[in-house]
Symmetry: C2
Subunit: 347 residues, 2 copies
């Protein structure tokens, strides 16, 4: 359950063509918001500037390291879908990306991660101190940018998300190594930790556009369900996904003792020997070289990677349904394809 980063999208995109039923892409979304996204990118660059040179160094290490910027694209897409014409969407999108980057910097410290998006984690280059403090700086800048937009309801949505995300992270920390974590508790954690920012990123669109409660709820529901689906697929990918194609971050969650849904479901079906295996590896952190392979074997035997992706598909359906609140348009179709794309990553 490392926080999902969009670089995975790029890595796993190729095999999609084999499963036409779930073909989807973010190309349409990317191209429809491309102009605004360019402004978001310059905005991000200008707001990581500081006379304290360590700040742009650390921030750009992470920000320039790729990632498809799915979250800010949601803000831009839902602003446009809500016929908003001002430039507040660009600022809020940049805020959303800053919030995300800040949590990545702090996550790496919390998880003691060595790598992030295929590069050394910032904390490995500049130390934990810099990661904590530059994260705080980005969070402060995010709030400044939001205030500039001047929408109190949008501020409320994003500030609430910030608190909920941190609460989810602490929850995850408390639940780490706890084999009694059940599916409901797990969904609670990822709803807070991952989906809250997707939901907020989408909801501020209709807020900027001055639309009503119906569209706000719809955007929020889309973001929330997409975020859950995204994280579940990420969890499956961390054990190699359903296709046995091994991506580069495989095994991170296992090594960090994180109890993700594939494991929660496997624990429900576990015999005594398997329970002892999970207890030794995840609870006690006693992990040998060959244990990841054994873990993947158990998950495959019980089909829990497929079961996890099946749940992702369920949330994907909810996300698509939520879009009914908006009239058909190229952008709405692009958001539907984005759902299929996120789920298709699992294959």
């Amino acid at each position: 359950m490392g926080r999902a980063t969009e670089v995975d999208i790029v890595v796993m995109a190729a095999p999609l063509a084999d499963r036409p039923a779930e073909r989807g892409g973010i190309e349409a979304l990317v191209s429809l918001v491309a102009d605004d996204m360019e402004r978001v990118n310059s905005f991000i660059l200008s707001r990581t500037g500081s006379d304290v040179t360590l700040i742009p160094e650390v921030a750009s290490h992470l920000i320039s390291s790729g990632g498809k910027r799915l979250r800010p694209m949601l803000t831009l897409a839902f602003s446009r879908l809500s016929d908003y014409e001002g430039d507040g969407g660009v600022r809020l999108a940049a805020s959303v990306e800053f919030m995300h980057t800040a949590t990545l910097l702090h996550d790496d410290v919390v998880d003691e991660s060595d790598m992030r998006r295929g590069k050394l984690a910032a904390r490995m280059v500049w130390g934990n101190e810099a990661s904590v403090l530059v994260g705080d700086f980005l969070l402060g800048q995010a709030f400044k940018m939001m205030v500039e937009v001047g929408s109190l309801p949008a501020l409320d949505v994003l500030a609430s998300a910030a608190a909920i995300i941190a609460e989810g992270e602490v929850w995850q920390l408390s639940a780490a190594k706890d084999l009694s974590t059940d599916e409901q508790a797990y969904l609670g954690v990822i709803t807070a930790k991952t989906a809250a920012l997707f939901a907020a990123a989408a909801e501020v669109g209709p807020i900027l556009g001055g639309l009503g409660e119906r569209e706000r709820q719809a955007a929020r529901a889309y973001g929330n369900a997409l975020g859950i689906a995204f994280q579940l697929v990420d969890d499956a990918l961390d054990y190699g996904g359903v296709s046995e194609l091994l991506g580069k971050n495989v095994g991170d969650d296992f090594r960090e003792g994180k109890i993700t849904l594939p494991v929660v479901l496997a624990l429900q079906r576990a015999d005594e020997a398997e329970r002892a295996f999970w207890s030794r590896t995840l609870e006690n952190g006693d992990i040998a070289e060959s244990d990841l392979e054994i873990a993947v074997g158990i998950l495959r035997r019980h089909g829990t990677l497929e079961a996890t992706v099946a749940r992702a598909r369920h949330y994907g359906d909810i996300a698509v349904e939520a879009l009914d609140a908006f009239p058909d348009s190229p952008l709405r179709r692009a958001l539907i394809e984005t759902v299929a794309f996120c789920i298709g990553r699992a294959y």
Copy 2:
């Protein structure tokens, strides 16, 4: 230059009576804002509540550990001084205290501190992870509370302070162990790291009261100058203060290699042997048992603790002058006494 915590006030208060010229107290301020402060305290308690029990545990460890809550008292005092009658002051005061608590939690991780306010630092009890994440949670809650008050100008002031504080911290991190830090650079760091929150805490008072730019600037100037004075006295106290009374945190800055003003001034006056001493201890972190005593001896020989406090007195005068923008009242007199009190801590 550990972040100043108000517990020092309590520890160092007694000897004040010996210097009637600088007699001052915060008793008047405390008693004038007591009713509102009680509401701030209940508010703080209610907003650290979470089903994730680790959050109230960590937060209350620090929040209940004392501290005079000088920063939120500034918000309450300047709200009242500005004839503001609503309950926004209580919420903003609680936000200010949350921002402060969040930075303390993160500071301890950055400084690898073992103790805070005479107790084990939260990170020693629950780990760095919990300190980082609970700090993030408190920051999120702080912004939520600010949004509830609904004043965009107040939000702007506090969000800017959040970014500036973090910028100051990163700056301090970059300057750590750097013997070429000069007085101006040092003042820049503490203006950002410490004074920015004092300034913002005060400025939101006249904003809530609907007063004009003159009172806003005056409140800001008071908070800024008081914050600088407060930090300078704290820096002197970290080497035992001017009275050679050793408080309990003496030597923290020295052991952490922090270049504070007493050292900056001593470096200006250093001969070759002294420069070699500072280089070995602060730059290279090669510190023997007896080195703190040697350091204090050098600072006393050059009179740089007195010189640091003289500068604090200069900022104290600026703070008092700034209050001219407000008519005489018991509250205004209490704010004047507070300045004398903060400086009197040094003796």
